[in-house]
């Protein structure tokens, strides 16, 4: 028997791991995957809430968010491919031509 808040806390932890991933990795693809992980953490929270309140709307939101994630993945990966072609690196720290 598991309380709902356990799922929510797990979601928060996964969200935090995603945040750490964005902040500390230099590999653009991993950063991008970390963002996907954060979206999934939010999804988990939505489903947990949905279950806790016995309302199905949350499931629909998750469904919609999955589409959003897919769309972001398509464009984001295309962009990574583009910048890799031009720069031959996926180290995000290198992408700092413009600053100040």
């Amino acid at each position: 028997m598991v309380p709902i808040s356990a799922y929510l806390i797990l979601a928060a932890v996964l969200f935090g791991i995603g945040t750490i991933g964005v902040l500390i990795t230099r590999n653009v693809i991993v950063i991008f995957m970390s963002i996907e992980l954060m979206l999934n953490a939010a999804n988990l929270a939505l489903i947990a809430f949905s279950r806790g309140m016995n309302v199905l709307d949350g499931h629909v939101f998750v469904f919609l968010v999955l589409t959003v994630a897919a769309a972001e993945a398509a464009v984001g990966l295309a962009m990574i491919v583009l910048i890799f072609r031009n720069r031959e690196t996926i180290n995000i720290d290198r992408f700092s031509i413009m600053k100040w």
């Binding site: 653009v28 979206l39 939010a42 809430f49 959003v68 972001e72 464009v75 583009l82 031009n86 413009m98």
Partner: protein, 483 residues
């Protein structure tokens, strides 16, 4: 079953402007294989904007809600739709020539522009958080691509990837916020949240507040509130200039449409909001202005200036009340005119070969192209808030709304900031008129479409400065419904 039929037959009129744009986008995508028809793409897009504008005007004062309450049509939303359409129409007129000269003219751009505007309209046309989120994504994904549209330019690539990563990151926070709101209220529909507000606050206060905070962050990212603004200078500088002009106005207006709705119609009873907006508004305008002082690139300067302007508009979020909201709308319309105008001039100047819009490249244009630089000067005066341009009135309304509501220090800081900003705007004028220029000034060719943009924006900037009446009445009339 009759239920569904009725949904379709009644509700489509609520989203008619969006549908027109969608149809146009689909049409353009169909034309892509036919190389010879490619030149039609901008024409189709322009016509679609005009038709959509017409339909949106038709929705004025038509308030209704459909699609099971997920679409809400009110004058407030219509007002913002008109702003989006105006901004994108002007950007479209600027873009074509620039893209041809830079060799990156592709029909997909116009489709993306249309999609992005659809996203904005969806955002402005609903009171449901999830639909807002979807609208935000439909708006943002084309923006990421448009930022990277000049694929061979490293700056443009970088702008795209930076915008994308930061945008997706912010979306994740926004989604978490929506989850919290959902957890607190069992719904994401504002009407229901507002109806049960006291119950929610009593039982789920902390969820509601956490959700509010995260939503503030998510949409604050789009309108570039400090400290969520860091992407702005890089993206604005790197993106192709007409795209930057579009970025600086339309998505910002969309973000404000949502924020004004959420924070002033929905959550205005959270008393903590005013204070945090106070701090954020002051931070935003100050940081924007101070950073703008030191820029050597005009686009980057305008990027910081747009941050500062977001700070001014945020005064409305602090103050609240109908006067402040209408002042914010007024300001956004005014800002559309003079900021896109300024970007139009920068775009034209950038069509000279090898130009990157650095300040030094402005030297001598006062002599080479006196009319163009006069128009540029006009836009700079408007940005700086000089009377009798509309920029002055926009600021005046905002600040006087603040003073009236008793936020005197906010107005003082705002006025001080706008005086600081004069310095860097005048620097543009000074450079273009007064700095010596060696060698032959490059010839700048005006094409009819850009000429039209300059006429519209200049007339708007000055004309609304002299006759702000209509626009003001409009922005006040736009307030009255929140279903």
């Amino acid at each position: 079953m009759t239920d569904y039929v009725s949904i379709l037959s009644i509700d489509l009129s609520l989203v008619a402007p969006e549908l027109v744009l969608l149809a146009a986008a689909a049409l353009i995508l169909l034309f892509i294989p036919l190389r010879k028809m490619v030149f039609l793409a901008p024409v189709i897009a322009a016509l679609a904007f005009i038709l959509s504008f017409y339909l949106a005007v038709g929705q004025w004062h038509y308030s209704g809600s459909g699609f099971a309450g997920l679409v809400t049509c009110d004058s407030f939303g219509v007002m913002f739709k008109l702003i989006f359409l105006l901004a994108s129409f002007l950007s479209l007129l600027i873009a074509r020539r620039f893209f041809v000269i830079k060799g990156i003219d592709k029909p997909e751009f116009y489709a993306l522009l249309l999609f992005s505007v659809i996203g904005m309209m969806v955002m402005a046309n609903t009171v449901d958080l999830v639909v807002m989120f979807l609208g935000l994504e439909i708006m943002s994904i084309p923006l990421y691509v448009m930022a990277a549209f000049n694929r061979r330019s490293l700056e443009s690539n970088e702008a795209g990837i930076k915008y994308f990563i930061m945008g997706a990151f912010a979306s994740a926070f926004l989604l978490m916020g929506i989850a919290f709101i959902y957890g607190a209220a069992e719904t994401t529909d504002f009407r229901r949240i507002v109806a049960d507000f006291s119950y929610i606050v009593a039982n789920y206060r902390i969820y509601l507040y956490a959700g509010t905070a995260l939503i503030l962050v998510g949409f604050g990212f789009k309108v570039a509130i400090v400290p969520f603004h860091t992407w702005v200078p890089d993206v604005y500088q790197g993106a192709p200039t007409p795209v930057t002009g579009f970025f600086s106005v339309a998505p910002k207006a969309a973000g404000f449409a949502v924020m004004l709705r959420i924070f002033l119609y929905g959550f205005e009873r959270i008393e903590l909001l005013a204070d945090i907006f106070w701090v954020l508004a002051v931070l935003t305008m100050t940081v924007g202005n101070i950073m703008a002082l030191r820029q050597d690139n005009v686009k980057r300067m305008l990027a910081y200036s747009s941050i500062a302007h977001a700070g001014y508009i945020m005064i409305a979020l602090v103050v609240g009340g109908s006067e402040a909201i209408s002042a914010a709308m007024f300001y956004l319309v005014a800002y559309t005119f003079f900021n896109i105008g300024a970007f139009a001039v920068v775009t034209i100047l950038e069509t000279r070969s090898g130009c990157k819009s650095d300040f030094v490249e402005l030297a001598g244009i006062g002599k080479a192209t006196p009319y163009l630089s006069a128009v540029l000067a006009l836009f700079m005066f408007a940005l700086a808030g000089f009377p009798p341009t509309v920029g002055f009135f926009g600021k005046f309304y905002l600040f006087s709304a603040a003073v009236k509501a008793g936020y005197i220090w906010l107005a003082v800081i705002g006025v001080m900031n706008s005086f600081v900003s004069v310095y860097y705007y005048l620097r543009v004028i000074k450079t273009s008129y007064m700095d010596p220029y060696e060698g032959q000034p490059a010839v700048v060719k005006l094409v009819p479409s850009i000429f039209l943009v300059l006429i519209i924006t200049a007339v708007g900037t000055l004309g609304l400065g002299f006759f702000p009446q209509k626009l003001l009445e409009l922005s006040q009339a736009a307030l009255f419904a929140f279903l």
